[in-house]
């Protein structure tokens, strides 16, 4: 699984960080998403999928699920 984030769409809600803190962070100044792991391990897949569904800006896309 590869994670893609659409940075211009991000609205800094931080739902991804709440769901999968190992994979997502936010910039300190404006809260925009920072992708920490582009290809997370299997143990993180469920949390990353939660993040993709919950992102209120639909800014997270998962490739090769």
């Amino acid at each position: 699984m590869r994670v893609e984030v659409d940075e211009p769409k991000c609205i800094a809600a931080g739902q991804c960080v709440l769901s999968a803190p190992e994979v997502f962070d936010q910039r300190d100044e404006d809260g925009i998403v920072v992708l920490l792991i582009e290809e997370p391990g299997a143990e993180l897949h469920a949390a990353v999928k939660d993040a993709a569904v919950l992102c209120p800006a639909a800014a997270i896309r998962l490739v090769g699920e």
Partner: protein, 388 residues
Amino acid sequence: MKRILVVGASAAGLAAVETLRREGYEETITLVGDEPHPPYDRPPLSKQILAGQWEPDRLALRSVADLYALGLDLRLGATASGLDLAGRTLLLADGTQLPYDGLIVATGVRPRRLPGEGAHVLRTFTDALALRERLGPGRRLAVVGAGFLGAEAAAVARGMGAEVTLLEPAPVPLAHAVGEKVGRVLSGAHLDHGVDLRTGVTVAEATGDGVRLADGELIEADEVLVAIGSLPNTEWLADSGLETTDGLVCDEYCAAAPDVYAAGDVARWHNPLFGVPMRIEHRTNAAEQGMAAARNLLHPQARKPFAPVPYFWSDQYDMKIQAYGYLRGHDEAAVVDGDLGERRFVAAYRTGDRLSGALAVGMPPKAIHRWRQAIAARTSWSEAVRSG
């Protein structure tokens, strides 16, 4: 379960069908939506779409390929008109009967309207485009209702050079939601940007050339936007036997009846974290609740109460407003960080003896994360404010 029906093809319905598939459900999922468009996002309608910053295709919540991969029986432009609960059958307006084993209701809300003709509302993609093409430099827009939707639209219209009159019945806009002090700060931004804000006025009707106030005064405008709240779409459930009182009434699991769940703006459920029934019209809740309802429907032996900390955001001018918790009906609001006058602060909210919410304006988004955690942990007010 051989067939699950999800009624409502917006954020909550989409989250529900995606979760069903992720949880391994491989039988038929029918997704019914009354709009002709595949699932799209609504918050940008009053922001980037109205401002013309985004092309409409950016609104799609999923690509066509991703949607196709879910293997749905997708029925767009189809309106639910009735439910036979005992017979487990949904009726569509065109007469089609759809049997189901499990049902998730996510039919959302529609805007309340004013008497009279010619006024805009802002709920759908079509609404947003219709208003957008009528705004521009020198155009006069009257916005009825200074809640978050009306305030966002007013800010965008000012940015496009329109002359904006913002009409609000309450003495202080948003006071019921965020408290008087914060409400004053937020409405101050509109005054600074040249909005003609009139509070304490009741609008009686749209007249075609503006709006008429209850006292008879005519406010002339080229366009009128009515943003006075929403009504849950539950009329189609009226004869079903389900309880619909300001939303489809559900328990803490989001269940309205055995194998019938609800999610999103239409659902009124008991949130055990706050100990009260609530109906939340926020984008993030739609997705979270769609996910929760789908899981509880699929796993009846392992149901979990839905106990989220609600979250919403609003963009107005250069202000980014973010809030966690359940602020409605709060007893006290206190500024715990920053400065109200600079429109850069965090306010904490007390309900009873508990911390019930936090709202930040102009602060780094991470600044209120720990407040969210404190709300989720049911922190007492005295402890929250002491450690804040």
